[in-house]
């Protein structure tokens, strides 16, 4: 890359957030630019394509108010970098890593390219350490482990923010002597949502060990594209160089994908499904795959991306492609929410793919897997019987069916439902599980080994 920064006044075309600059020399793909306006203002941009002496530049703050003849563009000879430091904890930044909380600027320990490099699969360590979130539907039934990426699939108007905040609050106080951090990445969320998180982090003191990156709904969409990468670069620094266990909350991935579509459309690319670019999967994977553990390192990155499914449709490209990359999903359900159940987690379509390695003796408790399977199957059976009752009427149910219907109601009210500040230990969650299984005769507990039934089945 040329060492000297070069300045040009040869902008020829402006379309959407894109600018075409002519007569450039030595410009490279992905290079950062400063765009100087006549009023002294500076906007930033990045080279999206370079062909001969023409460069296509994407302007981060948008192009409104720009005129080709007024603009002076300077190529900076480097890619998008962020200066990282442990002092970032407790601070709030924008999508490019500039502080927006009126605090002093950060003195970086080092500069890192926000795109990162793919983690060598051979260097990965398998995620198998249980994380207690204090939420029964997660801990007991869809166990989260360190280094996992487990998204919340939600919909508009559902309390996913409250749930995410509760996880952030409770997941980080496990064992003493370990260092925790929360990296919170907010893309295109409203002021109210953002304020909710910041206030919640302040109220509980969590802010001290958090780094917040915030791009509001009225901020530039393109900032949304760099924000998760900036946040994850910071998380990687904290996890693998400062030995912290980092929980990254990405909200709302739907806004991220919309921004990606916006840019793709402006570039006139061939659209894939529903107008999203064909590389949406690859692009999302470069975000989600930055979760994990590395052999020989203490720290870890666990991701909880939040996304609102348009029309609660799980087959929409955003949740669909996310589900193909992440290790399971927690589904937030409108029906349960309407019943007044918090957190309204629908456990049947929810799944944690890594749970089997994180539970059992020495990690949670010996009977965990059996209890989980039994609760699942009994709840599924109860729900099925309920559906049947809707078609045929309650009188069509057998005695056994009625028992399972009662079970599934109790399951929702007792196990799924819990307070927003209720932090249940895994022992407590298992206890509730057994209390519910106690409603069923021992003979029905086919998925629990006899020894555990003997030991844990509630005594009358």
């Amino acid at each position: 890359m040329a060492a000297i920064a070069r300045e040009y006044r040869t902008v020829r075309q402006i379309t959407g957030p894109l600018m075409l600059v002519e007569g450039v020399e030595g410009v490279t793909y992905g290079e950062l630019t400063d765009i100087k306006l006549t009023d002294g203002g500076i906007r930033r941009g990045r080279v999206l394509e370079v062909s001969g002496d023409m460069a296509l530049v994407q302007v981060f703050e948008g192009t409104s108010g720009l005129a080709p003849q007024d603009v002076k563009i300077k190529f900076l000879g480097k890619g998008l970098e962020i200066g990282v430091s442990q002092d970032m904890l407790g601070r709030v930044f924008d999508g490019f890593g500039y502080p927006i909380d009126d605090g002093p600027s950060i003195i970086p320990e080092k500069y890192l390219n926000v795109n990162g490099n793919p983690m060598n699969p051979y260097a990965r360590d398998y995620p198998n350490e249980f994380i207690q979130t204090g939420i029964s539907t997660i801990d007991l039934l869809n166990t989260l482990v360190r280094g996992q990426k487990l998204p919340l699939f939600s919909g508009s108007g559902l309390p996913h923010s409250r749930l995410a905040a509760q996880i952030a609050r409770q997941a980080t106080v496990l064992r003493t002597g370990e260092k925790f951090a929360v990296v919170f990445a907010a893309m295109g969320i409203t002021f109210e949502e953002s304020e909710f998180f910041v206030a919640d982090f302040r109220r509980t003191g969590a802010i001290e060990r958090s780094v917040l990156f915030i791009n509001l709904a009225d901020g530039p969409p393109i900032e949304r594209l760099s924000l998760p990468r900036t946040a994850l670069t910071t998380a990687e620094f904290l996890a693998f160089e400062k030995n912290m266990h980092v929980l990254v909350i990405l909200t709302d991935m739907t806004n991220y994908c919309e921004a990606l579509r916006e840019i793709s459309a402006a570039r006139r690319e061939v659209p894939g499904r529903r107008g999203y670019p064909g590389y949406l999967y690859t692009d999302l994977s470069t975000i989600y795959e930055r979760a994990g553990r590395i052999k020989g390192k203490t720290g870890s990155i666990t991701q909880i991306p939040v996304l609102t499914m348009p029309e609660d449709d799980k087959t929409h490209p955003i949740p669909d492609l996310t589900g193909y990359i992440t290790e399971g999903q927690i589904v937030v359900h409108r029906g349960l929410h309407a019943q007044g159940i918090y957190p309204p987690v629908d456990v049947l379509p929810s799944l944690s793919r890594l749970k089997d390695k994180g539970i059992g003796e020495g990690k949670t408790r010996e009977d965990h897997a059996d209890v989980m399977n039994q609760l699942y199957s009994a709840y599924a059976r109860g729900k099925e019987a309920k559906e049947l009752a809707v078609v045929l009427g309650e009188s069509a149910l057998s005695e056994e069916d009625i028992l399972f219907v009662k079970f599934s109601d109790a399951f929702e009210n007792r196990l799924v439902c819990q307070g927003e500040d209720e932090n249940r230990t895994i022992e407590e969650s298992l206890g509730i599980g057994w209390e519910l299984l106690g409603m069923l005769p021992k003979g029905q507990l086919k998925r629990v080994r006899d020894a555990f039934v003997e030991k844990y089945y509630p005594k009358p």
Partner: protein, 587 residues
């Protein structure tokens, strides 16, 4: 390689256009920019050469140098492949980690076969022997399970003038051939362009089953050695677990597992689990017969496109030694998406859903590289490559182009169903929708080797499952109590087939693998109940008692009977007969 041959004129993501590479051919490998990134020529227009670059292109710009290598994308083949883990262009990920750290950095390069490892070569022919392409010159014990055969490379024929037992790394000369064009030195390593299939003497129809130890597969939708299969299913339906199970338990001699655009943690799982798992036939660690290709979703997309070819070229090489090889590709949809992405950058006219119009022919030519063959070489050894591809259709929609193009060429379809997965029925292979066109081959083998009525019980069990599906419609409308008594027995039997036979727990040490013999015992035990219960019903036994037989609990646990205690099935059968007889009114 120091003087650059050409220079970059355009960069757009992973696509670079260069000029001045006169003489370069399609699919030739080049190195791009000062960082010397790997790339491959994919289009030539006048003097403009379009290059797909296998690494992130940030920092590349017009004017930067481009070097030719004079060779298409090729793999290195020789001892040391087994137990390796490669990225999509055969860079050894373990060596990269050792030398470059925990992240895959750009331009990093290490030889695919470790030059520090020593091998002992034992000759199989003598000096003076006339040999041709494919003839085995000698062997190297590569791992406990794999005897690596060093073959005469493609296109070479001649007389062996020097051969002797030697020890050394793969570059060591093991023989000298006298050919009309002069003497040539043969080492333990050869190269092969991945996009070209390795030639064989003749292709044959598949004739042997590929036993997988998975009950729903071996019994109902079997696979053949040298055959092709696909596993489509929405996310969370257990594609990867099915693929892992096949990689673990399929009775192939060599397994090539291609993780193509999937999760990093899944590859780690394979890496950590395989060394501790034992092959049921040899008792050795499964890793001793496995080669891994891992190009996870966040690794460069062009290398993902290449990864499938890298895997199949390695598989064909082991096939040429006379082995039965199985290749798992998870997932071919990510491979197709990589093609779509590159095609989009080339501004090609898109076909369906943005995929290139050649999607179907590419998929077909990949699966066509499977087969049961007679290898090149004078001993006419037989071998096979079987391909099992996972497909990840968006939204689980089977009408999308990748699934459709795949179904046109594969012979076995294991359709995964998310409804079954929600009900925690694994493997979630839908028994009503799936099919296998190798049923006849497998039946012929199983009827003669396992039990004369293997195909008969299979057909009967399948018919019961079909009838259950029809009856279920009725039950939903009128309730189960209004069914006739013999239909209730049918429903009960079908439920037993589903829960006690088809359902198989991949994570249970004993349930994870079932031999075909035990599969037969288990299914025939369930049908034994059906036959006896029905005839007891006709003779006046009460339905309630027949439904509540306590021995049924033992049938439910029969899948956990150890392989060595298979005579227990006969005891169970006899007890079941007498228990049912005891329910007859005159008993």
């Amino acid at each position: 390689m120091d003087e650059a041959h050409g220079s970059v004129i355009k960069v757009s993501g992973p696509l670079v256009v260069a000029r001045g590479l006169t003489g370069a051919r399609m699919y030739e490998m080049v190195r791009v920019g000062e960082a010397r990134l790997f790339g491959e020529i994919i289009e030539i227009r006048d003097d403009d050469y379009s290059i797909q670059v296998y690494e992130e292109t940030e920092g590349i710009g017009p004017g930067q140098p481009v070097w030719r290598t004079g060779e298409p994308l090729s793999v290195e083949l020789g001892p040391g492949l087994i137990r390796s883990i490669y990225d999509g262009v055969q860079r050894p990920l373990d060596a990269l980690q050792k030398d470059f750290g925990d992240y895959v950095v750009r331009g990093a390069e290490r030889p695919a076969l470790d030059r520090t490892r020593q091998w002992t070569f034992s000759p199989a022919v003598r000096t003076g022997a006339e040999v041709a392409t494919g003839d085995v010159l000698g062997t190297v014990q590569e791992s406990k399970l794999v005897l690596h055969k060093i073959m005469v490379p493609h296109g070479k024929t001649g007389k062996v003038v020097k051969i002797a037992p030697v020890a050394g790394n793969v570059d060591t000369e093991i023989a000298v051939l006298e050919t009309p064009k002069g003497n040539i030195s043969i080492t333990m390593v050869q190269r092969w362009p991945v996009r070209q299939s390795r030639p064989v003497a003749r292709k044959l129809m598949p004739t042997f089953p590929l036993v997988t130890g998975q009950r729903v597969i071996d019994m109902f939708f079997p696979m053949a050695q040298g055959g092709t299969a696909c596993v489509p299913g929405p996310f969370g339906s257990g594609k990867t677990v099915v693929q892992h199970q096949l990689a673990k338990w399929a009775d192939a001699q060599i397994i090539v597992y291609v993780g193509c655009g999937e999760r990093g943690n899944e590859m780690t799982d394979v890496l950590m689990e395989f060394p501790s798992l034992k092959d049921p036939s040899s008792g050795e660690a499964l890793m001793e017969r496995t080669v891994l290709v891992a190009n996870t979703s966040n690794m460069p997309v062009a290398a993902r496109e290449a990864s499938v070819f890298t895997g199949i070229a390695i598989a064909e090489y082991f096939r040429d030694m006379g082995y039965s090889v199985a290749l798992m590709a998870d997932s071919t949809s990510r491979w197709a998406e990589a093609m779509r992405e590159i095609s989009g950058r080339l501004e090609e006219m898109p076909g369906e859903e943005g995929y290139p119009a050649y999607l179907g022919s590419r998929i077909a030519s990949f699966y066509e590289r499977a087969g049961n063959v007679i290898c090149l070489g004078s001993d006419k050894r037989r071998a096979s490559v079987s391909i099992i591809g996972a497909v990840s259709p968006p939204g689980g929609d089977l009408s999308e182009p990748v699934v459709q193009a795949t179904l046109r060429v594969v012979k076995v379809y294991w359709g995964l169903d998310d409804k079954l997965a929600f009900a925690r029925h694994f493997p979630a292979i839908n028994w009503l929708a799936s099919y296998s066109l190798y049923q006849d081959i497998v039946d012929a083998n199983a009827d003669s080797q396992i039990a004369v009525d293997w195909s008969e019980i299979r057909t009967r069990a399948m018919a019961l499952l079909q009838q259950e599906a029809e009856l279920e419609e009725l039950v939903r409308l009128v309730g189960v109590d209004s069914l006739a008594a013999d239909d209730r027995i049918l429903m009960q039997t079908a439920r037993m087939i589903r829960e006690d036979f088809l359902h198989q727990n991949a994570f249970d040490d004993r349930d994870t693998y079932t031999s075909p013999g035990k599969q037969y015992n288990l299914l025939s035990l369930i049908l034994h109940y059906y036959d006896h219960a029905r005839s007891a019903l006709e003779n006046g036994a009460s339905l309630d008692n027949l439904m509540k037989l306590t021995i049924l609990d033992e049938v439910a646990r029969a899948k956990l009977i150890p392989e060595e205690d298979r005579d227990q099935f006969d005891h169970l059968k006899r007890r079941m007969t007498s228990d049912i007889r005891a329910l007859l009114p005159n008993a």
